[in-house]
Protein backbone atom coordinates (compact mmCIF):
# COMPACT_ATOMS: atom_id res chain seq x y z
CA UNK A 1 0.00 0.00 0.00
CA UNK A 2 1.34 3.39 -1.00
CA UNK A 3 1.40 6.53 1.09
CA UNK A 4 -1.44 8.04 -1.04
CA UNK A 5 -3.78 5.23 -0.05
CA UNK A 6 -3.11 6.01 3.57
CA UNK A 7 -3.94 9.69 2.96
CA UNK A 8 -7.25 8.69 1.30
CA UNK A 9 -8.05 6.38 4.18
CA UNK A 10 -7.38 9.10 6.77
CA UNK A 11 -9.35 11.69 4.74
CA UNK A 12 -12.32 9.33 4.67
CA UNK A 13 -12.16 8.92 8.43
CA UNK A 14 -12.02 12.72 8.79
CA UNK A 15 -15.10 13.11 6.58
CA UNK A 16 -16.99 10.57 8.69
CA UNK A 17 -16.03 12.44 11.89
CA UNK A 18 -17.07 15.81 10.38
CA UNK A 19 -20.40 14.35 9.25
CA UNK A 20 -20.99 12.88 12.69
CA UNK A 21 -20.35 16.18 14.48
CA UNK A 22 -22.24 18.26 11.92
CA UNK A 23 -25.26 16.05 12.64
CA UNK A 24 -24.92 16.86 16.32
CA UNK A 25 -24.60 20.58 15.58
CA UNK A 26 -27.70 20.47 13.42
CA UNK A 27 -29.55 18.87 16.31
CA UNK A 28 -28.48 21.63 18.67
CA UNK A 29 -29.78 24.35 16.40
CA UNK A 30 -32.91 22.54 15.37
CA UNK A 31 -36.07 24.32 16.54
CA UNK A 32 -38.96 22.03 17.32
CA UNK A 33 -41.59 22.30 14.60
CA UNK A 34 -44.61 21.70 16.80
CA UNK A 35 -43.96 24.61 19.13
CA UNK A 36 -46.90 25.27 21.38
CA UNK A 37 -45.30 27.58 23.92
CA UNK A 38 -47.81 28.73 26.45
CA UNK A 39 -49.14 32.08 25.36
CA UNK A 40 -50.43 34.01 28.37
CA UNK A 41 -52.83 35.96 26.17
CA UNK A 42 -54.52 32.73 25.22
CA UNK A 43 -55.53 32.02 28.82
CA UNK A 44 -59.26 32.40 28.90
CA UNK A 45 -61.57 32.29 31.83
CA UNK A 46 -64.52 31.33 29.69
CA UNK A 47 -65.57 28.57 32.01
CA UNK A 48 -68.76 29.87 33.57
CA UNK A 49 -68.77 29.02 37.24
CA UNK A 50 -72.00 31.02 37.75
CA UNK A 51 -73.79 28.73 35.38
CA UNK A 52 -72.31 25.81 37.23
CA UNK A 53 -73.77 27.17 40.51
CA UNK A 54 -77.21 27.44 38.92
CA UNK A 55 -76.97 23.92 37.54
CA UNK A 56 -75.74 22.54 40.81
CA UNK A 57 -78.60 24.09 42.78
CA UNK A 58 -80.89 21.73 40.91
CA UNK A 59 -78.65 18.75 41.54
CA UNK A 60 -76.14 18.06 44.26
CA UNK A 61 -74.16 15.54 42.26
CA UNK A 62 -70.57 16.42 41.48
CA UNK A 63 -70.88 14.71 38.10
CA UNK A 64 -72.76 17.70 36.69
CA UNK A 65 -69.48 19.61 36.77
CA UNK A 66 -68.56 19.87 33.14
CA UNK A 67 -64.98 18.68 33.35
CA UNK A 68 -64.66 18.56 29.57
CA UNK A 69 -65.60 22.22 29.26
CA UNK A 70 -63.38 23.13 32.19
CA UNK A 71 -60.31 21.47 30.67
CA UNK A 72 -61.03 23.17 27.35
CA UNK A 73 -61.34 26.57 28.97
CA UNK A 74 -57.59 27.06 29.43
CA UNK A 75 -58.44 28.17 32.96
CA UNK A 76 -56.36 25.35 34.46
CA UNK A 77 -53.29 26.65 32.59
CA UNK A 78 -52.70 29.24 35.25
CA UNK A 79 -52.22 27.37 38.52
CA UNK A 80 -53.24 30.45 40.52
CA UNK A 81 -56.90 29.77 39.59
CA UNK A 82 -56.81 26.19 40.79
CA UNK A 83 -57.30 26.87 44.52
CA UNK A 84 -60.25 29.16 43.76
CA UNK A 85 -61.82 26.63 41.43
CA UNK A 86 -61.42 23.84 43.94
CA UNK A 87 -62.99 26.01 46.66
CA UNK A 88 -65.98 26.78 44.42
CA UNK A 89 -66.36 23.10 43.68
CA UNK A 90 -66.29 22.29 47.41
CA UNK A 91 -69.07 24.82 48.09
CA UNK A 92 -71.50 23.33 45.60
CA UNK A 93 -70.59 19.67 46.08
CA UNK A 94 -72.72 17.60 48.37
CA UNK A 95 -69.92 15.06 48.70
CA UNK A 96 -67.44 15.22 51.53
CA UNK A 97 -64.24 17.22 51.16
CA UNK A 98 -62.05 14.20 50.48
CA UNK A 99 -64.19 12.93 47.58
CA UNK A 100 -64.33 16.41 46.02
CA UNK A 101 -60.57 16.90 46.45
CA UNK A 102 -60.00 13.45 44.95
CA UNK A 103 -62.28 14.32 42.04
CA UNK A 104 -60.39 17.54 41.34
CA UNK A 105 -57.07 15.71 41.67
CA UNK A 106 -58.18 13.15 39.12
CA UNK A 107 -59.34 15.96 36.81
CA UNK A 108 -56.00 17.81 36.91
CA UNK A 109 -53.98 14.63 36.51
CA UNK A 110 -55.53 11.68 34.63
CA UNK A 111 -58.16 13.60 32.64
CA UNK A 112 -55.81 16.42 31.72
CA UNK A 113 -53.11 13.96 30.73
CA UNK A 114 -55.49 12.35 28.25
CA UNK A 115 -56.30 15.75 26.81
CA UNK A 116 -52.72 17.02 26.53
CA UNK A 117 -51.01 13.79 25.57
CA UNK A 118 -53.63 11.56 23.93
CA UNK A 119 -51.02 9.31 22.30
CA UNK A 120 -47.27 8.72 22.07
CA UNK A 121 -46.95 10.91 18.98
CA UNK A 122 -48.17 13.92 20.92
CA UNK A 123 -45.15 13.80 23.22
CA UNK A 124 -42.40 16.25 22.32
CA UNK A 125 -39.58 17.86 24.25
CA UNK A 126 -40.97 21.36 23.83
CA UNK A 127 -44.43 20.34 25.00
CA UNK A 128 -42.94 18.62 28.03
CA UNK A 129 -40.91 21.76 28.67
CA UNK A 130 -44.11 23.83 28.78
CA UNK A 131 -45.79 21.31 31.04
CA UNK A 132 -42.78 21.38 33.35
CA UNK A 133 -43.00 25.17 33.65
CA UNK A 134 -46.71 24.93 34.42
CA UNK A 135 -46.19 22.15 36.97
CA UNK A 136 -43.72 24.21 39.05
CA UNK A 137 -46.75 26.26 40.19
CA UNK A 138 -47.99 23.29 42.20
CA UNK A 139 -45.03 23.58 44.54
CA UNK A 140 -46.21 27.05 45.57
CA UNK A 141 -49.81 25.89 45.85
CA UNK A 142 -48.70 23.12 48.24
CA UNK A 143 -46.99 25.72 50.44
CA UNK A 144 -49.90 28.15 50.16
CA UNK A 145 -52.70 25.72 50.99
CA UNK A 146 -51.39 23.65 53.90
CA UNK A 147 -54.72 21.87 54.44
CA UNK A 148 -54.57 20.36 50.95
CA UNK A 149 -50.82 20.28 50.41
CA UNK A 150 -50.84 16.49 49.90
CA UNK A 151 -53.13 16.91 46.88
CA UNK A 152 -50.97 19.60 45.31
CA UNK A 153 -47.77 17.71 46.09
CA UNK A 154 -49.32 14.63 44.49
CA UNK A 155 -50.32 16.66 41.39
CA UNK A 156 -46.71 17.85 41.14
CA UNK A 157 -45.42 14.31 41.63
CA UNK A 158 -47.80 12.93 39.01
CA UNK A 159 -46.70 15.40 36.33
CA UNK A 160 -43.00 15.29 37.14
CA UNK A 161 -43.12 11.49 36.98
CA UNK A 162 -44.78 11.76 33.60
CA UNK A 163 -42.28 14.34 32.30
CA UNK A 164 -39.25 12.40 33.53
CA UNK A 165 -40.59 9.09 32.21
CA UNK A 166 -41.44 10.57 28.81
CA UNK A 167 -38.02 12.19 28.47
CA UNK A 168 -36.35 8.88 29.32
CA UNK A 169 -38.39 7.23 26.57
CA UNK A 170 -37.49 9.97 24.09
CA UNK A 171 -33.84 9.55 25.05
CA UNK A 172 -34.08 5.82 24.36
CA UNK A 173 -35.60 6.47 20.91
CA UNK A 174 -33.26 9.29 19.90
CA UNK A 175 -29.77 9.03 21.38
CA UNK A 176 -28.87 12.54 20.13
CA UNK A 177 -31.67 14.19 22.08
CA UNK A 178 -29.24 14.83 24.92
CA UNK A 179 -27.82 17.67 22.79
CA UNK A 180 -31.21 19.42 22.58
CA UNK A 181 -31.25 22.65 24.60
CA UNK A 182 -34.82 22.11 25.94
CA UNK A 183 -33.94 18.57 26.91
CA UNK A 184 -30.92 19.80 28.83
CA UNK A 185 -32.98 22.40 30.64
CA UNK A 186 -35.52 19.74 31.62
CA UNK A 187 -32.70 17.39 32.63
CA UNK A 188 -31.51 19.97 35.17
CA UNK A 189 -35.03 20.74 36.43
CA UNK A 190 -35.89 17.07 36.84
CA UNK A 191 -32.59 16.17 38.51
CA UNK A 192 -32.73 19.04 40.98
CA UNK A 193 -36.24 18.02 42.03
CA UNK A 194 -35.40 14.29 42.49
CA UNK A 195 -37.02 13.18 39.24
CA UNK A 196 -33.91 12.15 37.28
CA UNK A 197 -34.12 11.28 33.60
CA UNK A 198 -32.50 8.13 32.24
CA UNK A 199 -29.97 8.96 29.56
CA UNK A 200 -29.47 6.25 26.99
CA UNK A 201 -26.19 5.83 25.19
CA UNK A 202 -25.45 3.94 22.02
CA UNK A 203 -22.82 1.21 21.84
CA UNK A 204 -20.14 3.55 20.46
CA UNK A 205 -20.66 6.02 23.32
CA UNK A 206 -20.40 3.19 25.83
CA UNK A 207 -17.30 1.83 24.14
CA UNK A 208 -15.56 5.22 24.14
CA UNK A 209 -16.61 5.92 27.72
CA UNK A 210 -15.24 2.61 29.02
CA UNK A 211 -12.10 2.98 26.95
CA UNK A 212 -11.41 6.45 28.35
CA UNK A 213 -12.21 5.24 31.87
CA UNK A 214 -9.70 2.40 31.32
CA UNK A 215 -12.32 -0.22 32.14
CA UNK A 216 -10.65 -2.65 29.72
CA UNK A 217 -11.76 -5.80 31.54
CA UNK A 218 -15.39 -4.65 31.53
CA UNK A 219 -15.12 -3.52 27.90
CA UNK A 220 -13.74 -6.84 26.72
CA UNK A 221 -16.24 -8.81 28.77
CA UNK A 222 -19.26 -6.76 27.63
CA UNK A 223 -18.15 -6.76 23.97
CA UNK A 224 -17.69 -10.51 23.97
CA UNK A 225 -21.02 -11.18 25.71
CA UNK A 226 -23.17 -8.72 23.79
CA UNK A 227 -21.99 -9.29 20.23
CA UNK A 228 -23.08 -12.09 17.94
CA UNK A 229 -20.78 -14.00 15.60
CA UNK A 230 -21.27 -11.49 12.73
CA UNK A 231 -20.25 -8.58 14.95
CA UNK A 232 -17.26 -10.49 16.26
CA UNK A 233 -16.19 -11.23 12.68
CA UNK A 234 -16.68 -7.59 11.67
CA UNK A 235 -14.59 -6.36 14.62
CA UNK A 236 -11.89 -8.86 13.67
CA UNK A 237 -11.87 -7.69 10.01
CA UNK A 238 -11.74 -3.97 10.95
CA UNK A 239 -9.02 -4.65 13.49
CA UNK A 240 -6.97 -6.70 11.02
CA UNK A 241 -7.47 -4.12 8.24
CA UNK A 242 -6.33 -1.25 10.49
CA UNK A 243 -3.36 -3.28 11.68
CA UNK A 244 -2.33 -4.07 8.08
CA UNK A 245 -2.61 -0.38 7.17
CA UNK A 246 -0.40 0.64 10.05
CA UNK A 247 2.18 -2.05 9.24
CA UNK A 248 2.22 -0.99 5.57
CA UNK A 249 2.50 2.68 6.41
CA UNK A 250 5.29 1.97 8.86
CA UNK A 251 7.27 -0.22 6.40
CA UNK A 252 6.71 2.39 3.67
CA UNK A 253 8.09 5.07 5.96
CA UNK A 254 11.07 2.89 6.86
CA UNK A 255 11.82 2.32 3.16
CA UNK A 256 11.72 6.05 2.47
CA UNK A 257 14.06 6.78 5.37
CA UNK A 258 16.50 4.03 4.33
CA UNK A 259 16.41 5.10 0.64
CA UNK A 260 17.19 8.70 1.65
CA UNK A 261 20.10 7.49 3.78
Amino acid sequence: MKFNTLVIYLTLINIIIILFFSNILLDINKEPSNSVILDKNKIQTSFNFSQFYIDSSQSTNIDIFNSYKYLNSYRYKSTKYLINDLNKLLIVSSHNKDITNQYFFSLITDSLLLKLYPDKDSISVIKLYETSNWVQGFKFLAELDTSRNTYFEAMYDFWMNYISGSLSQLSALDKNIKFNIYFNSLYLTCNSNNYPISIKYNLIDKFVFNYLSKNYNHLLHATWNQTNIKHKLLIFIIFSFTLILYINAFTDLLKRITSKV
Partner: protein, 307 residues
Protein backbone atom coordinates in the same frame (compact mmCIF):
# COMPACT_ATOMS: atom_id res chain seq x y z
CA UNK B 1 11.98 -31.90 89.02
CA UNK B 2 9.76 -30.67 91.78
CA UNK B 3 6.75 -30.51 89.39
CA UNK B 4 7.46 -34.06 88.20
CA UNK B 5 7.52 -35.42 91.76
CA UNK B 6 4.31 -33.53 92.52
CA UNK B 7 2.57 -35.04 89.48
CA UNK B 8 3.79 -38.53 90.33
CA UNK B 9 2.36 -38.22 93.80
CA UNK B 10 -1.06 -37.13 92.56
CA UNK B 11 -3.83 -39.77 92.26
CA UNK B 12 -4.73 -40.95 88.73
CA UNK B 13 -8.28 -39.54 88.92
CA UNK B 14 -6.94 -36.09 89.73
CA UNK B 15 -4.38 -36.29 86.90
CA UNK B 16 -7.16 -37.14 84.42
CA UNK B 17 -9.27 -34.20 85.59
CA UNK B 18 -6.33 -31.81 85.07
CA UNK B 19 -5.71 -33.25 81.58
CA UNK B 20 -9.36 -32.85 80.60
CA UNK B 21 -9.40 -29.27 81.89
CA UNK B 22 -6.28 -28.43 79.84
CA UNK B 23 -7.86 -29.93 76.68
CA UNK B 24 -11.10 -27.98 77.25
CA UNK B 25 -9.20 -24.71 77.77
CA UNK B 26 -7.18 -25.22 74.57
CA UNK B 27 -10.41 -26.01 72.71
CA UNK B 28 -12.11 -22.88 74.02
CA UNK B 29 -9.15 -20.66 73.17
CA UNK B 30 -8.91 -22.03 69.61
CA UNK B 31 -12.70 -21.62 69.11
CA UNK B 32 -12.60 -17.99 70.29
CA UNK B 33 -9.50 -17.26 68.16
CA UNK B 34 -11.11 -18.87 65.11
CA UNK B 35 -14.26 -16.79 65.62
CA UNK B 36 -12.23 -13.64 66.01
CA UNK B 37 -10.24 -14.41 62.90
CA UNK B 38 -13.11 -15.68 60.70
CA UNK B 39 -15.30 -13.23 58.84
CA UNK B 40 -18.28 -15.53 58.96
CA UNK B 41 -19.38 -18.94 60.09
CA UNK B 42 -19.57 -21.37 57.17
CA UNK B 43 -22.51 -23.01 58.90
CA UNK B 44 -24.60 -20.03 57.79
CA UNK B 45 -22.83 -19.10 54.55
CA UNK B 46 -22.09 -21.57 51.79
CA UNK B 47 -20.39 -20.74 48.51
CA UNK B 48 -20.00 -23.06 45.54
CA UNK B 49 -20.03 -23.31 41.77
CA UNK B 50 -22.16 -25.91 40.04
CA UNK B 51 -22.40 -26.80 36.37
CA UNK B 52 -25.86 -27.77 35.17
CA UNK B 53 -26.37 -28.54 31.47
CA UNK B 54 -23.19 -26.69 30.54
CA UNK B 55 -24.17 -23.56 32.49
CA UNK B 56 -22.01 -22.53 35.42
CA UNK B 57 -23.93 -21.31 38.46
CA UNK B 58 -21.97 -19.41 41.11
CA UNK B 59 -23.99 -19.69 44.27
CA UNK B 60 -23.79 -17.93 47.61
CA UNK B 61 -26.32 -19.36 50.02
CA UNK B 62 -26.92 -17.55 53.29
CA UNK B 63 -29.16 -18.75 56.06
CA UNK B 64 -31.10 -16.18 58.05
CA UNK B 65 -31.21 -18.56 61.01
CA UNK B 66 -30.51 -16.66 64.26
CA UNK B 67 -30.23 -13.54 62.07
CA UNK B 68 -26.44 -13.61 61.82
CA UNK B 69 -26.48 -12.74 58.11
CA UNK B 70 -27.62 -9.18 57.48
CA UNK B 71 -28.10 -6.86 54.53
CA UNK B 72 -27.07 -3.26 54.13
CA UNK B 73 -27.85 -1.15 51.07
CA UNK B 74 -26.01 1.98 50.04
CA UNK B 75 -28.48 3.57 47.66
CA UNK B 76 -26.55 6.64 46.57
CA UNK B 77 -24.15 9.36 47.64
CA UNK B 78 -25.02 10.78 51.04
CA UNK B 79 -26.19 14.37 51.57
CA UNK B 80 -22.56 15.44 52.07
CA UNK B 81 -21.68 14.11 48.63
CA UNK B 82 -19.63 11.15 49.89
CA UNK B 83 -19.53 8.41 47.28
CA UNK B 84 -20.95 4.96 47.92
CA UNK B 85 -17.40 3.60 47.85
CA UNK B 86 -16.27 5.99 50.61
CA UNK B 87 -19.39 5.31 52.64
CA UNK B 88 -18.80 1.58 52.34
CA UNK B 89 -15.14 1.90 53.44
CA UNK B 90 -16.12 3.91 56.53
CA UNK B 91 -18.98 1.62 57.46
CA UNK B 92 -17.22 -1.71 56.84
CA UNK B 93 -14.27 -1.05 59.15
CA UNK B 94 -15.77 -3.07 62.00
CA UNK B 95 -17.97 -5.40 59.93
CA UNK B 96 -17.51 -8.98 58.78
CA UNK B 97 -18.26 -8.68 55.10
CA UNK B 98 -19.53 -11.69 53.19
CA UNK B 99 -20.00 -10.05 49.79
CA UNK B 100 -20.97 -6.91 47.99
CA UNK B 101 -22.67 -6.45 44.64
CA UNK B 102 -24.16 -3.59 42.64
CA UNK B 103 -27.88 -3.22 43.23
CA UNK B 104 -30.26 -1.45 40.92
CA UNK B 105 -29.52 0.29 37.60
CA UNK B 106 -28.19 3.80 37.09
CA UNK B 107 -29.59 6.55 34.86
CA UNK B 108 -26.33 7.72 33.29
CA UNK B 109 -23.07 6.11 32.25
CA UNK B 110 -20.96 8.69 34.05
CA UNK B 111 -20.71 7.68 37.71
CA UNK B 112 -20.21 11.32 38.75
CA UNK B 113 -23.53 12.38 37.22
CA UNK B 114 -25.54 9.19 37.60
CA UNK B 115 -28.38 8.53 40.00
CA UNK B 116 -30.12 5.24 40.73
CA UNK B 117 -33.15 4.45 38.56
CA UNK B 118 -36.58 4.00 40.06
CA UNK B 119 -37.87 4.98 43.47
CA UNK B 120 -34.91 5.30 45.80
CA UNK B 121 -34.56 6.45 49.39
CA UNK B 122 -31.30 6.28 51.32
CA UNK B 123 -31.66 6.40 55.11
CA UNK B 124 -34.70 8.65 54.75
CA UNK B 125 -33.00 10.86 52.20
CA UNK B 126 -35.07 10.87 48.99
CA UNK B 127 -32.86 10.27 45.95
CA UNK B 128 -35.34 9.44 43.20
CA UNK B 129 -39.13 9.84 43.09
CA UNK B 130 -39.65 8.46 39.60
CA UNK B 131 -41.67 5.27 39.57
CA UNK B 132 -40.22 2.99 36.92
CA UNK B 133 -42.00 0.09 35.28
CA UNK B 134 -40.06 -2.43 37.40
CA UNK B 135 -42.29 -4.46 39.69
CA UNK B 136 -39.98 -4.85 42.67
CA UNK B 137 -39.71 -2.46 45.58
CA UNK B 138 -37.18 -3.54 48.20
CA UNK B 139 -37.19 -2.09 51.70
CA UNK B 140 -33.96 -2.69 53.63
CA UNK B 141 -34.43 -2.46 57.38
CA UNK B 142 -31.95 -1.06 59.88
CA UNK B 143 -32.02 -4.49 61.57
CA UNK B 144 -30.45 -6.11 58.48
CA UNK B 145 -33.59 -7.66 57.05
CA UNK B 146 -35.14 -7.03 53.65
CA UNK B 147 -38.72 -7.08 52.41
CA UNK B 148 -39.90 -6.96 48.81
CA UNK B 149 -43.26 -5.81 47.52
CA UNK B 150 -44.79 -6.35 44.10
CA UNK B 151 -45.73 -2.81 43.01
CA UNK B 152 -48.29 -4.11 40.50
CA UNK B 153 -50.23 -5.72 43.35
CA UNK B 154 -50.53 -2.34 45.07
CA UNK B 155 -50.64 -3.84 48.55
CA UNK B 156 -47.54 -2.48 50.26
CA UNK B 157 -48.47 -2.16 53.94
CA UNK B 158 -46.83 0.54 56.02
CA UNK B 159 -47.55 1.71 59.53
CA UNK B 160 -48.41 5.34 60.34
CA UNK B 161 -48.36 5.97 64.10
CA UNK B 162 -49.34 2.37 64.71
CA UNK B 163 -52.10 2.43 62.08
CA UNK B 164 -51.46 0.10 59.16
CA UNK B 165 -52.23 1.38 55.69
CA UNK B 166 -52.09 -0.20 52.26
CA UNK B 167 -50.19 1.82 49.70
CA UNK B 168 -50.44 1.61 45.94
CA UNK B 169 -47.31 3.30 44.61
CA UNK B 170 -48.87 3.72 41.17
CA UNK B 171 -51.12 6.35 42.75
CA UNK B 172 -49.45 9.76 43.18
CA UNK B 173 -51.35 10.49 46.41
CA UNK B 174 -50.14 7.21 47.94
CA UNK B 175 -46.61 7.88 46.72
CA UNK B 176 -46.52 11.19 48.62
CA UNK B 177 -47.59 9.40 51.80
CA UNK B 178 -44.99 6.70 51.20
CA UNK B 179 -42.17 9.24 50.84
CA UNK B 180 -43.29 10.97 54.06
CA UNK B 181 -43.23 7.59 55.81
CA UNK B 182 -39.77 6.73 54.39
CA UNK B 183 -38.37 10.06 55.55
CA UNK B 184 -39.88 9.64 59.02
CA UNK B 185 -38.58 6.08 59.38
CA UNK B 186 -35.11 6.75 57.91
CA UNK B 187 -35.92 3.91 55.54
CA UNK B 188 -33.75 2.62 52.71
CA UNK B 189 -35.72 1.72 49.62
CA UNK B 190 -34.88 0.81 46.03
CA UNK B 191 -36.74 -0.32 42.95
CA UNK B 192 -35.62 -3.01 40.55
CA UNK B 193 -36.97 -5.77 38.31
CA UNK B 194 -38.90 -8.42 40.16
CA UNK B 195 -38.94 -11.58 38.06
CA UNK B 196 -40.36 -14.11 40.47
CA UNK B 197 -42.76 -13.48 43.30
CA UNK B 198 -44.48 -15.94 45.61
CA UNK B 199 -43.75 -18.94 43.40
CA UNK B 200 -44.94 -17.18 40.23
CA UNK B 201 -42.86 -16.20 37.23
CA UNK B 202 -43.48 -12.53 36.35
CA UNK B 203 -41.30 -12.19 33.27
CA UNK B 204 -42.52 -12.78 29.74
CA UNK B 205 -40.26 -14.14 26.98
CA UNK B 206 -41.91 -12.01 24.27
CA UNK B 207 -41.82 -8.68 26.07
CA UNK B 208 -38.44 -8.97 27.80
CA UNK B 209 -35.09 -7.92 26.36
CA UNK B 210 -33.21 -10.30 24.06
CA UNK B 211 -29.86 -8.85 25.06
CA UNK B 212 -27.44 -11.52 26.17
CA UNK B 213 -25.12 -10.74 29.04
CA UNK B 214 -23.87 -11.93 32.40
CA UNK B 215 -26.76 -12.16 34.89
CA UNK B 216 -26.96 -11.90 38.66
CA UNK B 217 -29.92 -12.37 40.94
CA UNK B 218 -30.85 -11.95 44.56
CA UNK B 219 -33.29 -14.68 45.51
CA UNK B 220 -35.02 -15.38 48.79
CA UNK B 221 -36.86 -18.56 49.65
CA UNK B 222 -37.92 -20.92 52.36
CA UNK B 223 -35.72 -23.96 53.00
CA UNK B 224 -36.91 -26.30 55.75
CA UNK B 225 -39.12 -23.47 56.94
CA UNK B 226 -36.18 -21.08 57.28
CA UNK B 227 -35.58 -17.94 55.23
CA UNK B 228 -32.54 -18.35 53.01
CA UNK B 229 -30.82 -15.71 50.89
CA UNK B 230 -29.18 -16.57 47.57
CA UNK B 231 -26.95 -14.60 45.27
CA UNK B 232 -26.68 -16.49 42.00
CA UNK B 233 -24.37 -15.38 39.23
CA UNK B 234 -24.49 -16.74 35.68
CA UNK B 235 -21.24 -15.60 34.11
CA UNK B 236 -22.04 -16.78 30.57
CA UNK B 237 -24.29 -14.60 28.36
CA UNK B 238 -28.01 -15.22 28.82
CA UNK B 239 -31.20 -13.34 27.99
CA UNK B 240 -32.97 -12.11 31.10
CA UNK B 241 -35.87 -14.52 30.56
CA UNK B 242 -33.65 -17.59 30.11
CA UNK B 243 -31.52 -16.68 33.11
CA UNK B 244 -34.57 -16.21 35.36
CA UNK B 245 -36.08 -19.53 34.33
CA UNK B 246 -32.75 -21.30 34.86
CA UNK B 247 -32.35 -19.81 38.35
CA UNK B 248 -35.95 -20.57 39.32
CA UNK B 249 -35.55 -24.19 38.15
CA UNK B 250 -32.29 -24.47 40.04
CA UNK B 251 -33.89 -23.23 43.26
CA UNK B 252 -36.85 -25.57 42.87
CA UNK B 253 -35.13 -28.73 41.64
CA UNK B 254 -31.63 -28.58 43.08
CA UNK B 255 -32.05 -26.52 46.23
CA UNK B 256 -35.55 -27.93 46.77
CA UNK B 257 -36.96 -24.72 48.22
CA UNK B 258 -40.48 -25.01 49.56
CA UNK B 259 -41.18 -21.46 48.42
CA UNK B 260 -39.44 -18.95 46.18
CA UNK B 261 -40.39 -15.71 47.87
CA UNK B 262 -38.83 -13.50 45.24
CA UNK B 263 -36.07 -13.17 42.65
CA UNK B 264 -34.70 -9.66 42.11
CA UNK B 265 -32.41 -8.64 39.29
CA UNK B 266 -29.04 -7.05 40.07
CA UNK B 267 -27.20 -4.75 37.69
CA UNK B 268 -24.47 -6.41 35.65
CA UNK B 269 -24.40 -3.72 32.96
CA UNK B 270 -22.84 -0.31 33.53
CA UNK B 271 -21.81 -1.11 37.12
CA UNK B 272 -20.90 -4.77 37.21
CA UNK B 273 -19.42 -4.71 40.71
CA UNK B 274 -19.27 -7.97 42.64
CA UNK B 275 -16.91 -9.43 45.18
CA UNK B 276 -17.09 -12.36 47.59
CA UNK B 277 -14.92 -12.81 50.65
CA UNK B 278 -13.83 -16.16 52.03
CA UNK B 279 -14.64 -17.10 55.60
CA UNK B 280 -11.09 -15.99 56.49
CA UNK B 281 -11.82 -12.52 55.19
CA UNK B 282 -9.71 -12.76 52.05
CA UNK B 283 -11.00 -11.94 48.56
CA UNK B 284 -12.39 -15.02 46.85
CA UNK B 285 -10.34 -15.25 43.66
CA UNK B 286 -12.71 -17.48 41.71
CA UNK B 287 -13.47 -15.52 38.55
CA UNK B 288 -17.20 -16.30 38.57
CA UNK B 289 -17.47 -14.58 41.96
CA UNK B 290 -16.04 -11.32 40.67
CA UNK B 291 -17.50 -8.43 38.71
CA UNK B 292 -15.77 -6.72 35.81
CA UNK B 293 -15.50 -3.30 37.47
CA UNK B 294 -13.83 -2.14 40.69
CA UNK B 295 -15.94 -1.09 43.67
CA UNK B 296 -15.38 2.64 43.07
CA UNK B 297 -17.54 2.24 39.93
CA UNK B 298 -20.57 1.31 42.03
CA UNK B 299 -23.34 3.84 42.29
CA UNK B 300 -25.11 1.64 44.80
CA UNK B 301 -24.09 -1.41 46.78
CA UNK B 302 -25.93 -4.32 48.28
CA UNK B 303 -23.73 -5.62 51.09
CA UNK B 304 -24.17 -8.83 53.06
CA UNK B 305 -22.40 -9.07 56.39
CA UNK B 306 -22.15 -11.38 59.35
CA UNK B 307 -22.82 -10.32 62.92
Amino acid sequence: MHLQTCLKELPLKFKLTILLKIIATIGNISFITANLYCQYNTQFVETRTQVIQGEQYSIIKMSREDEHVKVKYFAAKDYLGNSVYKRYLDWSKDKNIILYTSGTYMNDYDINLALPEGICVDNGNIVNKVLQAYDGLAIVYQTGGIAVSNIKKGDLTISFDGVKKKIDLRNALDRIEFFKWAQGQNATVFQTHLFYFMNSLLINRNTSSNKKQERRFFAVGKLNGRTTYYIINLASPNTIYDATVKVANFLTNFEELEEITFILNLDTGAQNVFQLKTSEGKIDNRKSFQGTLPINNALNLLVYYYE
